[in-house]
Amino acid sequence: MRHVIAILIENEAGALSRVAGLFSARGYNIESLTVAPTEDASLSRMTLVTRGSEDVVEQIIKQLNKLIDVVKLIDLEETVHIERELMLVKIKTVDKMRDELRSVVDIFRGKIIDVTPTSYVIEMTGTSDKLDAFIATVDKNSIIEVVRSGATGISRGEKGLHL
């Protein structure tokens, strides 16, 4: 099963490599990993998406918790949560399809943030599934470049992951 794990980790050099190294050393897979400092500059927050059987995910969470730099973590799968991923897509445009593409972007609530006579850059956020769906909708041959942030997530309601 797919699990989204949110991690608060000391914002120190090498902290990221401890997490990445753990996954490669133990043969766990990382589908995506995002990391950035939080409002408290001494902490970073990571969102890690992984896949594995329940036993494997249980071990992953225990091993992550064991890292001295990890302050707290939560398996978002265990709570009601929201996930968002940011995607930027550069698409080659020819006149006759520009309107059509614009309406597809609207349907997906994306934004066109750069325009040239022959290309658009589209910005879109949503669940990873939604971004997949958008990509599936546009003509493959017209895609010049896709960049995705990987999923980030947060739980719903008052409770949160903080110190």
Partner: protein
């Protein structure tokens, strides 16, 4: 107090109560060595190879429970230490390793003797630090000792760039009394609900067994384990790392379990309906084939590291906590529940266990013309009154030492279990002897293993650590040869060394006593003579039966109830004369 970085390092170690640093100098740590030179409180042991430093510190740690301390230079000094760090990591041994690093300004430029020590050791340390500021040294050292020794212990590396220890930069020094780390809170007592569940299972078990491991040694839980085991009356088996925590001469002890464990221990595990696992990590050498592991048993697992629980074997009642505290909780809970041994169940279970015992799986040919390695260990047990510290290397000799020297106290049996590091035994023995100058310290080794850190014989002379080296010389990489005999139709690919040194002369060259023994009747007198030479290191080169194998054995892919036993006692081959 105003001190420079190098002085701060040494003063911090002193304030931490460190007696010995095991180390080797080089460019990046010259400031540190100068600070060492200017004081006498912390003693430095100059090894002959950095691997030796780590194993010596490790032996010191295993035999005392105190952290071992290592100091090495950058680059090759640091990489030479890695095997010893990994060895300590696999067996959860507290150790603090300080490595020099190239100056901060040139880190990342492929500077002379630069290696990314923090990166290299990341997968084999409990934690590591790169010190970037002289004002952070004391705090970092405090944290390192705290992390290394608390919770599930392990090695911690502190990498210190040369400029941080420069003599001309002085800052005010005070050693922190305590550290708080918001991200690190080792477990203490067990969850009450889980304890209750465990008690319920203990009250109703019919065929129970205690399977205890290195965690009981590491967590100083020996007394509590003995009390609990006597209260319950269960059979007790221990892992290779647990030996001694429960006395081997206690009648409830049924021997080591696992690959080279006793028949009775493995059968008891296999047939049990309840396993109380304490400070043991269900290693593959212990479990055998996982899907056939203990098919009838419910499992209670006490461990301080949640990641050890349900890692390989799913357990019903996990209890995360310190062995010492959790066992106390269990004892209290049992007393509260007015636990009484169910006489009828216990009697029939013990009858069964004793029947397995009666096949005497460790018996060997006592009339052999060749020296049987098992016989040597038995004799050594008698000569040392079962009270020596025994270190070992890795191979058949290690298993024989574990099987034929019944340890009655924890921290007496010092060996590399998890990593299985050949070369461990000799330096470890030096570390043990430094910590216990009045005790008998023996290193049981093999002709191949001893050559991996043989240079430390020189260290043993310099620091006057009289140890007894018991070389069970079969002129083979015996453990490898055994596997090749069993699994590769005796194709002995590179498990034989055509040239091995004259160990007697080698010992003498290093300034020690060397004695060669090739007849069974000479074993006892030689051992007596060696152990009587209190102030000399003695190398006993004992030419043993070359093709002797370690029995019993669970072969790969087999389970506890499917052991290979010694076929017919008395028919093993004699030593080929070479």
């Amino acid at each position: 107090m105003e001190l420079n970085g190098a002085q701060i390092v040494i003063q911090s170690l002193k304030d931490e109560g460190v007696e010995y640093i095991f180390g080797y100098p080089g460019g990046a740590v010259l400031h540190l060595y100068d600070a060492i030179f200017q004081q006498d409180d912390v003693k430095h042991i100059l090894v002959r190879h950095e691997q030796g430093a780590t194993h010596a510190a490790d032996g010191y740690a295993r035999s005392t429970g105190k952290p071992g301390v290592v100091l090495v230079t950058s680059g090759p000094g640091a990489t030479n230490a890695v095997t010893g760090i990994a060895t300590a990591y696999m067996d959860s041994i507290p150790m603090v390793v300080i490595s020099g690093q190239v100056p901060s300004a040139v880190i990342g430029s492929d500077a002379f003797q630069e290696v990314d020590m923090v990166g290299i050791t990341r997968p084999c340390v409990k934690h590591n630090f790169l010190v970037k500021d002289v004002t952070k040294i004391a705090e970092t050292i405090k944290k390192a000792f705290y992390v290394a020794t608390s919770g599930r212990p392990g090695p911690v590396v502190i990498d210190i760039p040369k400029d941080i220890t420069a003599p001309d930069v002085k800052v005010s020094y005070s050693y922190p009394k305590k550290v708080e780390m918001r991200s690190y809170h080792p477990a203490t007592t067990g969850n009450k609900g889980q304890i209750k569940k465990a008690i319920e299972l203990l009250l109703t078990a019919q065929r129970p067994v205690i399977y205890s491991g290195g965690g009981v040694v590491l967590g100083e839980g020996s007394q509590e384990l003995i009390e609990l085991a006597h209260l319950l009356g269960f059979p007790v088996t221990q892992t290779l790392m647990g030996l001694g925590a429960f006395p081997s001469t206690d009648k409830q002890f049924i021997g080591m379990l696992g690959m080279h464990g006793t028949y009775e221990a493995n059968m008891t595990m296999h047939e049990s309906d309840l396993i109380l696992a304490i400070g043991a990590r269900f290693d593959d050498r212990v479990t055998g084939k996982l899907d056939l592991f203990c098919p009838y048993a419910k499992i209670i697992h006490v461990d301080i590291d949640p990641a050890s629980i349900s890692k390989t074997v799913k357990v019903g009642v996990p209890i995360v906590g310190e062995v010492k505290l959790v066992i106390r909780q269990l004892i209290d809970g049992l007393k509260e529940a007015k636990y009484k041994i169910d006489k009828k169940a216990a009697e029939s279970w013990w009858q069964q266990v004793n029947q397995w015992r009666s096949i005497q799986c460790l018996e060997f040919d006592r009339n052999s013309r060749a020296i049987k390695p098992q016989f040597v260990i038995e004799q050594m047990y008698e000569v040392t009154h079962g009270d020596a510290f025994v270190t070992s290397d890795v191979g058949q000799h290690q298993m024989w030492a574990a099987q034929y020297y019944p340890f009655d106290k924890p921290r007496r049996w010092i060996n590399s279990g998890g990593l299985g590091t050949m070369g461990f035994g000799l330096p470890a023995a030096i570390g043990v002897k430094l910590a216990h100058p009045d005790a008998d310290v023996a290193c049981v080794t093999g002709d191949a293993s001893i050559q991996m850190c043989i240079q430390e014989l020189s260290t043993a002379l310099q620091y006057k650590t009289p140890i007894k080296i018991i070389n069970l010389n079969n002129n083979y990489l015996g453990m490898v040869r055994q596997w090749q005999e069993f699994s590769y139709e005796s194709r002995y690919s590179h498990s034989y060394m055509e040239t091995i040194p004259d160990f007697v002369k080698l010992a003498e060259a290093y300034g020690h006593v060397g004695i060669r023994i090739d007849k069974p009747e000479d074993v006892r007198p030689a051992l007596e003579k060696a152990f009587a030479m209190k102030d000399r290191t003695v190398f006993l080169d004992i030419l043993t039966d070359r093709t002797e194998n370690v029995y019993p054995m669970i072969e790969t892919g087999k389970s506890h109830h499917d052991m290979k036993l010694r076929v017919a006692i008395g028919t093993t081959t004699d030593r080929e004369l070479s």
